[in-house]
Subunit: 394 residues, 2 copies
């Protein structure tokens, strides 16, 4: 799915819950809250919505296995609105956004409500672990002690095997993420842990799997996010819109034996397709929200994006490129790592954060210059890869 | 999602597994088999596929929770093809077909492969029961002895409460379904049980829940089906295509208290929208494949479609309208009831069966006249409702 877009596919409103441990929320209350926020910010009534897409992974973490119509709980006026659940593991959110864009392009809808949500922290650790591991071809249904961290630990070890010791860069990426999350009021982990803490194995920052410390891993979070996609501007919107200029998806094979674990080959393909669709190059961008489920993933994504050569991703950190005041700030929101990673919500949240930057409404996170941004969202070990390019309308 | 279509959205090829107990098949082998069949019948190579949609319910019945890329196991040439899972409970199959149509209309794809699959019979009855019940808002995660049959038993009781005893019509619908399935080589239950057997409670046909006998319920089945959707005809196709002339979706609220259990109000809305989109009326149709998960559902769908007034659905049976030689044959394939109901596969299978009729390739099931047909597929108790209208290209 690749699209070069004319100038009128907009993110015209959005909603975002706090990410974290939300014991008083249910999947339904999260969905309804962010959907309500998104319509309010877009200046729409429920009856104005032509279609709904719900991004939700679930995989045994929540009892309801048929959640698309939860969005209709927002209003009696939503009777009859088409609602469909979209799932691509941790990229479910962007998959739903891309289905929404497709519906606008098809002309089957003019205003689409996309909601992403996951409720995780109420579930026993074993259920969360099994749910997340069900996204892996080899591990699904198998016992595991190290969960998805164990899989990304193998990625880190493969990276070191090919390019030599990774040094302090993973700790530095974690420290950047924690620092950035201090300015995001919705982030799960708002604690500036500092480089030394993140670089060092300690009782409070133990090794979780292979070379990955606790600070290298995104947390288990509850949360939801929503966007209103529209064809053309909405006159009553409370926020300036952000324009979607290109999007692309590329899937890789599920079996680990059929993928180079550190190439993220289909992520790179989606990235190139999206840049081409939008007619921009890397250095035209002012920021990106990328899929840092683990710090090693963010490091490799620097290389996928072309911020550094293969094996040299650490230079992007060492040269300060990826800091909020650098040439291409990455994960100013704190990313999955510190913002939190409620699976189905993540990709939608990335689009909300990008739209906030581009509309100048990102509050303490606001970058000085934010004309063009990118979202990179991946499901599994770079298996389902979604990229969206956006620009400011102002 | 409602679309009036120009003349070039086609089902250009298809594949269908046997439905039933398939102990030697896995979810992956089912997916790959029908995808391979579909491309062969469309005369396409894997590299010709622009996008893939997988319909799959799962809900704990199969370990892999991230199945979209299973379709890529068909061929190394599928690297990079976008693949997305779509879920709307028992309507997942039609939801995926509708996403495929939308991608064609959007111009983001010219050839879409839609696969629906479910593997159920290997799982313990408790896992299947819990998985299916997870599609119900009130019952999800709750213990139950009667499963989804218990929910449709309540529908049957509500129907009798409003309109009086339903009499023999449910048994007659079951008997028709079994009779029709004799001519479908892929059907799960190929046994002409006869009216007397289906009408009568017996040791071999016990009550399952409320007034519903075993013969009123679709079986638990394994199976898969696939279609190739194309913009315009495919020159190397091995089968004549079928044209999609309209489609619509309408969702209802999840809580039972917010729905009249026998109105199927959103099904009726989707039905009317689809007829309007296609510019046809009921009596323009030559057949329909409708969602008979339980015989009471088929009875109510007669009324939703307008084959009979509300409360008078039995007349459609008594007057012979719905028989293969009647004015509007319903479920010539045997329907979910006797063909089988592998949840994610069902909606795609309905589209395959319709395309076979319209292309004159339905073998022993072939109707004398089959110029226009309809598919009605619903998820939950008429919660997610998808309707597609199709016509012959010959």
């Amino acid at each position: 799915m690749t699209g070069t877009l004319d100038n009128d596919i907009l993110i015209a409103g959005w909603g975002h819950s706090r990410f974290g441990k939300l014991p008083d929320q249910t999947l339904e209350s999260l969905v309804v809250d962010v959907a309500t926020q998104a319509l309010e910010s877009a200046g729409l009534e429920p009856r104005d919505v032509d279609a709904v897409f719900l991004a939700h992974f679930n995989a045994g973490m929540w009892p309801l296995g048929f959640a698309s119509s939860l969005v209709l709980q927002m209003s009696p006026d939503l009777f009859g609105v088409p609602a469909t659940r979209v799932e691509n593991a941790c990229a479910s959110g962007s998959a739903a956004v891309h289905q929404g864009i497709t519906a606008l392009l098809a002309g089957t809808a003019r205003r689409v409500l996309v909601v992403g949500a996951e409720k995780m922290t109420h579930a026993p650790a074993s259920a969360v672990g099994a749910g997340l591991l069900s996204a892996d071809y080899e591990s699904a249904g198998q016992p595991s002690t190290s969960g998805f961290a164990g899989l990304f630990a193998q990625v880190a070890l493969a990276y070191e095997h090919r390019y030599g010791p990774v040094g302090d860069v993973l700790g530095d990426i974690a420290a950047k993420s924690h620092r950035n999350a201090m300015r995001n009021p919705d982030a799960h982990l708002r604690k500036d842990l500092g480089q030394e803490f993140c670089r060092t194995v300690s009782e409070r920052n133990p090794l979780v799997a292979g070379p990955l410390r606790r600070t290298d891993c995104s947390p288990v979070s509850d949360g939801a996010a929503a966007v209103v996609l529209s064809r053309g501007p909405l006159p009553a919107a409370a926020v300036p819109p952000a324009r979607i200029t290109g999007f692309a998806q590329a899937n890789d094979f599920l079996p680990a034996t059929r993928r180079d674990p550190i190439a993220f080959a289909a992520t790179e393909l989606a990235w190139r397709r999206a840049l081409q669709a939008a007619g921009v190059s890397l250095w035209d961008l002012d920021f990106a929200e990328v899929h840092d489920c683990f710090t090693i993933a963010e490091l490799i994504l620097y290389e996928v994006m072309g911020l550094a050569d293969r094996g040299k991703g650490r230079l992007a950190v060492e040269e300060g490129l990826v800091e909020p005041d650098g040439r291409l700030p990455i994960n100013v929101s704190g990313g999955l790592k510190s913002k939190g990673h409620p699976v189905g919500a993540t990709g939608v949240s990335q689009h909300v954060l990008a739209a906030m930057q581009l509309s100048g409404t990102a509050g303490d996170m606001q970058l000085a210059s934010a004309r063009r941004g990118a979202v990179i969202n991946m499901g599994g070990l770079a298996v389902a890869n979604h990229v969206t390019l956006l620009e400011s309308c102002t």
